[in-house]
Amino acid sequence: MSEYILEMRGITKTFPGVKALDNVNFSVRPGEIHCLVGENGAGKSTLMKVLSGIHEYGTYEGDIILDGEVMKFHNIRGSEKAGIAIINQELALIPELSVAENIFFGREILKNKLMDWNETNARAVKYLNMVRLNVNPQLPVKELRVGSQQLVEIAKALSKDARLLILDEPTSSLNEEDSENLLNLLRELKEKGVTIIMISHRLKEVVEIGDTVTVLRDGTTVCSMDRSEVTEQKIIKNMVGREIGSIYPKRSESHEIGDVRFEVEHWSARDVKRNREMVKDVSFYVRKGEIIGFAGLMGAGRTELALSLFGNTPGYKITSGEIRLEGETVRFKSPKAAIEKGVAYATEDRKRNGLVLLQDVKFNTTFANLNRLIRGGIINESKENNEATKLKDDIKIKTPSIHQAARNLSGGNQQKTVLAKWIFATPKVLILDEPTRGIDVGSKHEIYTLMNKMVEEGMSIIMISSELLEIIGMSDRIYVMHEGRITGELSGKEATEEGIMRLATNTEEN
């Protein structure tokens, strides 16, 4: 037996025109938590796809050695047989099926060729206990929160007797509490002898949990560090190849915040279907040239607040409240009406409802404000090419041309395309919902710089974020929400992580 449970040697993977992985070496010791970090496009996901057989044997160069044996996986089933389970960032559960059905999907438990439901549910409970998830196995998965769904995925992997568990950004869509639970669970699994590879952008948790940290950059291994030598600064330096003084850029000294532009008073919204008050008596304001942050845990009602203000309220009913935009009382019937008045909302889920992925960067950039290009009813394509190219260069969307389909861009560049769309639309008030979710440090820095530039030009930004450091680093003022209510307002300068967390969980100072 060698020192390593898994060795990937000299892995090279080429896509038409792009070398995604270039002679990557990656070694994992048995029973460790091995974190894999790197900017978007560094090759982390590709490497894991090679490992799990999604990119099959023969389409890459190099060797995968598991327990001293060279593996030749032709599909994901092959790697599963060898004890490898991968849990992707986008969960692969079937929402309508029950928890138990999902756990044993594809490996149904049968008795006389028919489903054995009792055994299925009983065994599901066993695995659910292992991940400390206390739910009825007959509940449809769609009724669970994202954090619990993640646990179901892990239970599913464990039920396959996985020895090597790969998690691709498991905490990116979880709040701090669920993230902490998940990390604790991973530690427990480690104790039980499961080896874990985790891809993550949250460097804090990488430092906290990783026994070994491997950094990839531009398709090559930059370094592998032991627990004792890892720091966030070191990781960042290796990821980007340069030191970022502070990831949160300073705004120019001369920048001044203006008068109140957008004001909301006593805003309440009810979820009609569930008959629950999602937003309760919320009042806040944002001034010209100001960034305000909305902090809170998942489900605190921040997205619901934003969408109800923005006029997109399928299933919601606004029960009270008033919006004043530059002194004028308004109420938006649809997103269209809001945009026309200068209020825009950039979604937290760029793939689901942010971009038209089939269409190119140009299409997406100009989509929300085509009026700017219209002359005599016709879109002026020269002007469109010109302005889209200029914007692409200004905000550094990395793509060979504006005619690249949005689905071919990396996450960070997709997010920049979303921002390009709203810069092009020139709103007065821009609501950004989780603007940097799941993107790498370098892109984050660029997006923060962009946000500063936008407020310097007079825009008002309302940022919803679950990353406390981002909220503190970027906001002039911070509102914290808990269960639909604003529980506190802090100034950006004096806010601390602990202070926000106390308000977000609504606990007294002790």
């Binding site: 025109g17 038209v356 269409q359 879109i379 090419n385």
Partner: protein
């Protein structure tokens, strides 16, 4: 992922053939029937007939393209077309002038489209169900309106000209010892010029902004291909009766739709909401309004198609229109409209309609019975779409 080097001449040529699988299918069908029929397929008379046969399906396919792009479907247009055609015949019987008849029928179609669009967009009944109900209802209306007579004959000769007539024979041009319809040749020449000039203009526009215009090999192949296609079609038509009014109508409708889809805001909104409905909503698209608009256009084109079919047959019958919706939908898919929405071009759907009608025409010509015709149509349809799906990497299950 970026595509590799794509500026080589050969790879450019290859790229074009990949994008024009449908034309290859068309060529194969033509060759097959030419041999099978002992040379009776590719004659000026038969091609003229084929083109006119395609007309009423082509205009339906054009409007259907929009419906499919926004991820909806319209199953009602078969009998809607038949019904509106019968309304036209009725109006003519009442001596309503032709222009007014056309206007009334198209507006009536638009109104019925509005009704279905409203039910889908505002009330929220899925398009599949709404238009299935429409198909039943319009079938009933068609039978009601033709009931007392069974068949409504059109005696107005001028009306029949719409789908049976040709451009006026003003002068002849003599080429290679053959007499050609002069006006048709001139129109054909203008069409080729427009294709090449607009192609060049687009290319220059891309170059101006340093955007990759594609390989010169691909461009030349494309231009040569389309020019050859237009030239051969026009020569065939011009050696018989010339270009028919049907061709003019189809070209005009296609041009208008192409323009709207590619040059206007509503076109962008259609592609956008087809590609991602939620993103379009949050970008300020009034998606319900766009949907209703698309169904209005579908209804209006069913009206136009109804006028064309009544004019072509010289009568309206209680069964006219049966299956048109399926031909139109098939035409769109053969033309590369994505079954998951967001992608599609009206010109390609017209060519798709041409592919289908070539089959119908060819099989009739060689005397294959109607049962075998349906069978063969089904097989060719699935083969054509399979080739298209594979070559575009758009497999149903990824």
């Amino acid at each position: 992922m970026q595509e590799g080097k794509k500026n080589g001449f050969l790879s450019g040529v290859k790229n074009v053939t990949k994008n024009y699988a449908m034309y290859i299918a068309l060529a194969l069908i033509f060759i097959m029937f030419q041999i099978w029929s002992g040379g009776r397929f590719l004659t000026p008379r038969n091609i003229t007939n084929l083109v006119n046969q395609t007309g009423y399906i082509a205009v339906l396919a054009v409007a259907m393209t929009l419906v499919l792009i926004i991820c909806q479907i319209d199953l009602s247009i078969g009998f809607l077309t038949g019904f509106l055609g019968a309304v036209a015949a009725r109006l003519l019987l009442l001596n309503v002038p032709i222009p007014l008849t056309i206007l009334i029928v198209i507006l009536f179609g638009a109104a019925l489209g509005l009704l279905q669009g409203f039910i889908i967009g505002k009330i929220g009944v899925p398009a599949f169900v709404t238009t299935l109900a429409g198909e039943f209802a319009f079938r009933g209306l068609l039978q009601l309106i033709t009931q007392d007579k069974g068949t409504i004959n059109v005696t107005n000769e001028a009306f029949k000209e719409i789908s049976q007539g040709f451009l006026p024979d003003l002068f002849k041009i003599n080429l290679f010892g053959t007499e050609f319809h002069g006006l048709s040749l001139i129109i054909g020449a203008i069409a080729v010029a427009i294709v090449i000039l607009s192609g060049l203009r687009k290319r220059n526009e891309l170059k101006k902004y340093n955007l990759d215009p594609g390989s010169i090999g691909g461009f030349i192949t494309k231009m040569a291909f389309f020019s050859a296609l237009i030239v051969s079609l026009v020569l065939l038509l011009a050696s018989f009766n010339g270009i028919s009014w049907t061709v003019i109508i189809v070209v005009a409708v296609t041009a208008v739709y192409h323009f709207v889809l590619n040059k206007t805001k509503i076109g962008r909104h259609i592609y956008g909401m087809g590609g991602n409905l939620e993103a379009a909503k949050l970008s300020g698209v009034n998606t319900k309004l766009v949907l209703i608009g698309v169904f209005i256009s579908m209804g209006a084109m069913a009206g136009l198609s109804g006028i064309m079919i009544t004019s072509r047959m010289g009568c309206a019958q209680p069964t006219t229109g049966a299956g048109f919706e399926l031909d139109a939908i098939a035409a769109c898919y053969i033309g590369g409209v994505s079954t998951s929405g967001g992608v599609g071009r009206v010109l390609n759907s017209v060519v798709g309609a041409f592919v289908i009608m070539s089959l119908v025409n060819g099989l009739n010509l060689v005397g294959v019975g109607i049962s075998y015709q349906y069978l063969i149509k089904g097989i060719i349809f699935i083969i054509a779409v399979a080739i298209d799906v594979r070559s575009r990497g758009r497999k149903a299950l990824g």
